[in-house]
Amino acid sequence: MKGLLIISGLGILAMLAEIFKFKKLLFPMVLIGIVAAYAFNFMEWKTGMSIPYFDNMIGFDKLGIAFSGIIIATAFFWFILANDYFEEETSLVDHFALVLFALVGALMLTSFKNMTTLFLGVEIMSIPLYVLAASKKKDIKSNEAGFKYLIMGSFASGFLLFGIALVYGATGSFDLMQIRSFISEHGADMPLFFYVGVVFMLIAMCFKISAAPFHFWAPDVYQGSPTLITALMSTVVKTAAFAAFMRLFMVGFAEISSVWTGILAGIIALSLVIANFSAAMQNNVKRILAYSSISHAAFMLMVILANVRSNLSVNALIYYSLAYSLGSIAAFGIVYNVTKKGNENVDAFNGLAKRNPSLALCMTVAMLSLAGIPITSGFFAKYFVFTAMIGTQYKWLLIIAVLTSAVGVYYYLRIVIAMYFKKQDTHEPITIERSNILVIVLTTAATIAIGIVPGIVAEMFEF
């Protein structure tokens, strides 16, 4: 909770920076603030108490704190990565404030206890992102991305709100636990419109995590947005949306899982197939990563589908989010630096191994991790999903997942092959800021480290 407050404070501070002329100080202040937020978050984890705030609107339990930790850590790396990006822009402070407010929304999503907080979180997170997506003012693609994101996002928010209203109508409460107990008391005779409400919320959440068939916005928005904003969307936003999805359906609607699991299984199957086959046909790296993020979303949804509220599945989801976030930050950090010239196609990577061997090595590790090859963390993430799924009735889904994973290797390796095998078009060395190198190396090392000792993350929850 203190973390949330600190980051909100930072956001307000960032807006004041222009007026009181401490723009130069802002970046270090934000970094220190984020580290402090992480430290407070960690201390709350240690004490392990879940204190409800604001009339039980929000409360950081262990699950929420774990997801917050991942989000804050990712944001830390992201800010270091983005420092020169901000310097190039004239309206520096606005961007800082927007990202910080998006973070506030993300943290709210990890720990909401009430449907209103859920909605607030979604909106606080999304609205700054609509602006950020369009933040390259003169680029038509960026404008398109922002506009598309806004329209589609608002549409989803409408669904969410309508769903919440219907569920409220049926249960008479916004509180997650009260809804749950109401359902278990009146399980059999819930009105039809309640189920409609649940399905509406499912659709809205699937939109936010960009699962097929509600994914159409993702490739365009990922491609059009500035690369670093894409990185933010595919890590922080995704993790937060997942935390919310998990809490909503595994806590709130766990009692009526038979209603939504069937639909969810269909969504996962569609996402896996559409995402992987579409990614294989793309040439733009950011689009490839967009489809890859859809496929990873499907994998994370599988854990929720397995729906065993056990150590294993909670740990699995946390591990998956962390592994995916680390791999994505490394990948996007490299993509950002490689595509600075404007060419965002796979051939921008041609001959990277010659131009900058260590960068190519880091990219290889990131790709192998996203593809799920040992000993990277992506492999364990996949392994946990397989283990969670194999005990369920959805074995057919597992087979689809295996087959599409093999397809997935195709497009991740395309980038690796381009780096090591294809002749480079230019001999210009790639200039990277020291800070960027630091982030890329750290995230790559962490990807391997938690792949070698997965226990430190995978054994966090021992209920």
Partner: protein
């Protein structure tokens, strides 16, 4: 401890070699691989003295909540495979001394990392660890082929990677399925014996499903017809040392896997589908032999002959009797040595004449008699002439398959005849006959080349005449394996 050291040493050595500049890298790599062979010999003598010595196994918890252990151990079969691996790797490194590879530090570092993974595969006593090493072995070889391979390597190595990964993922699902059925005092376990117990407690149709899930991974690695399509291209395109690693050691991961991780796990699945799998293997033998006969490129011919040999090995293993499996182990050793020799000969031919097409070669015996003799010895080992190392294994294999089915044995026996046809014809075309005008003079061999070929020839003859030390270990090992099959 020694067991863990056998894995740790090449890992550290490999990482070290990455940081060495220039040709010092290859000398260092050679030194390290010889030390590793020394360690393996140490394990061999230790094993001779006491097969249950505690030095030969190592167990440490890796991920506690999931029951994953870093558990490795050397039993008879593992010992033989490790000896093969550690014997071949120095030879493979030495064989590269006449080639000048760019970035030698990366090349030799990757070879040593590959060795680490291979040794790990053979020693793993934990299903999960086995899978991890299995996959790890793929990454160095992928880069070796991609970075130092021949024409069109991008597409071909890519096919190879996706093909094998596809199989591996199915194996992973199969293994997790077994793991989910283990129950050791209420907990799940990855230990090999617990997986055996779990597998056998499954109903027949479940066992059949697991059989195919795991077998497909091994079948792709070996490769078995009709999953072999990645192999000839990859073998031809890979740099010679990569081909040697692939054919000499890596395909043994597949056959080894069937013996240790498939046969004892699903006996009912084997009973139902073993016949089909043998039929596929035998089809592969005949199919590959016929294609080999019509090949013009010598390297491609060896690639196809490798499919034929491995088909026989696989048929012997799947017949699941003492002779079959023992023959398979012996043949795995012999094939490993011989095929490395043959690919090296193809490499020497190419380096001296600039072609591998047999029609363009001829009369080389007249130019370099020593080379002709060394080639002939290795070739005879490959066609399994009595008193060469190939004979013991092939004899036992056909015997084993015969106990399963006489028809299959008769068909599989064709490999002996067809093998002799294509190998001897290739010798005739390359070494004998008229000197082909397009050839430049075939000069004397480099010293390192001579050393490598001589060592291989000595092994071919020595273990043909006196296979007892290895055969004894194989026999004992198979007896224990047979206990698990009952």
């Amino acid at each position: 401890m020694l067991a863990a050291l056998l894995i740790l040493f090449p890992l550290l050595a490999g990482l070290l070699v990455f940081f060495v500049k220039g040709n010092a890298a290859r000398n260092l790599a050679l030194g390290f691989s010889i030390i590793e062979f020394g360690l393996a010999l140490g394990a061999f003598f230790l094993f001779k003295k006491d097969p249950n010595a505690c030095m030969l196994s190592f167990d440490h918890v890796w991920v506690k909540s999931l029951g994953i252990h870093f558990s490795v151990g050397i039993d008879g079969m593992a010992l033989l495979m490790i000896l093969l691996t550690t014997f071949l790797v120095p030879l493979i490194i030495l064989s590269s001394f006449t080639n000048d590879y760019s970035k030698p530090n990366n090349f030799y570092g990757l070879i040593l990392l590959m060795q680490m993974a291979l040794v790990g595969v053979f020693m793993a006593n934990d299903g999960f660890l086995f899978y991890v090493f299995w996959e790890l072995a793929l990454i160095p070889i992928y880069f070796i082929c991609l970075l130092w391979g021949g024409e069109d390597r991008g597409r071909i190595t890519f096919k190879f990677f996706v093909y094998t990964l596809f199989g591996s993922l199915f194996m992973l699902v199969g293994l997790i399925y077994l793991y989910n059925h283990t129950n050791v005092e209420g907990l799940k376990s990855w230990a090999v014996q617990d997986l055996y117990t779990a597998g056998r407690s499954l109903a027949e149709n479940q066992q059949c499903a697991v059989f195919w899930m795991i077998f497909i991974a091994f079948a792709i690695k070996m490769p078995i017809f009709p999953l072999h399509t990645w192999q000839p291209d990859t073998y031809v395109t890979a740099p010679t040392q990569g081909t040697m690693l692939l054919s000499g050691i890596m395909l043994k991961m597949g056959t080894f896997g069937v013996i240790k991780w498939l046969l004892p796990v699903v006996p009912l699945g084997l009973e139902k589908w073993g016949g089909t799998a043998i039929a596929l293997s035998v089809t592969g033998i005949i199919y590959a032999s016929i294609i080999a006969i019509s090949q013009k490129d010598f390297k491609r011919l060896i690639a196809y002959s490798s499919i034929a040999h491995v088909g026989l090995i696989s048929a012997g293993i799947l017949s699941a009797n003492q002779q079959g499996i023992q023959g398979a182990i012996m043949q795995m050793l012999a094939h490993g040595v011989n095929v490395v020799g043959l690919f090296f000969i193809a490499d020497i031919l190419f380096r001296h004449t600039g072609t591998r097409e047999m029609d363009k070669l001829g009369g080389i015996r007249g130019m370099n008699g020593n080379f002709a003799v060394l080639f002939l010895i290795i070739l005879l080992g490959s066609v399994a002439l009595p008193l060469t190392n190939g004979f013991v294994g092939e004899f036992l294999l056909i015997n084993g398959v015969y106990q399963f089915s006489a028809t299959m044995a008769a068909l599989a026996g064709l490999t002996v005849i067809l093998g002799a046809v294509y190998m001897l014809r290739s010798y005739q075309k390359i070494m004998l006959g008229e000197r082909n005008d397009s050839n430049v003079a075939f000069g004397p061999l480099a010293t390192t080349d001579k050393v490598v070929l001589s060592i291989i020839c000595v092994v071919v003859v020595a273990f043909g005449i006196y296979p007892k030390p290895l055969n004894d270990i194989a026999e004992e090992a198979v007896k224990t394996i047979m206990l698990n099959l009952k």
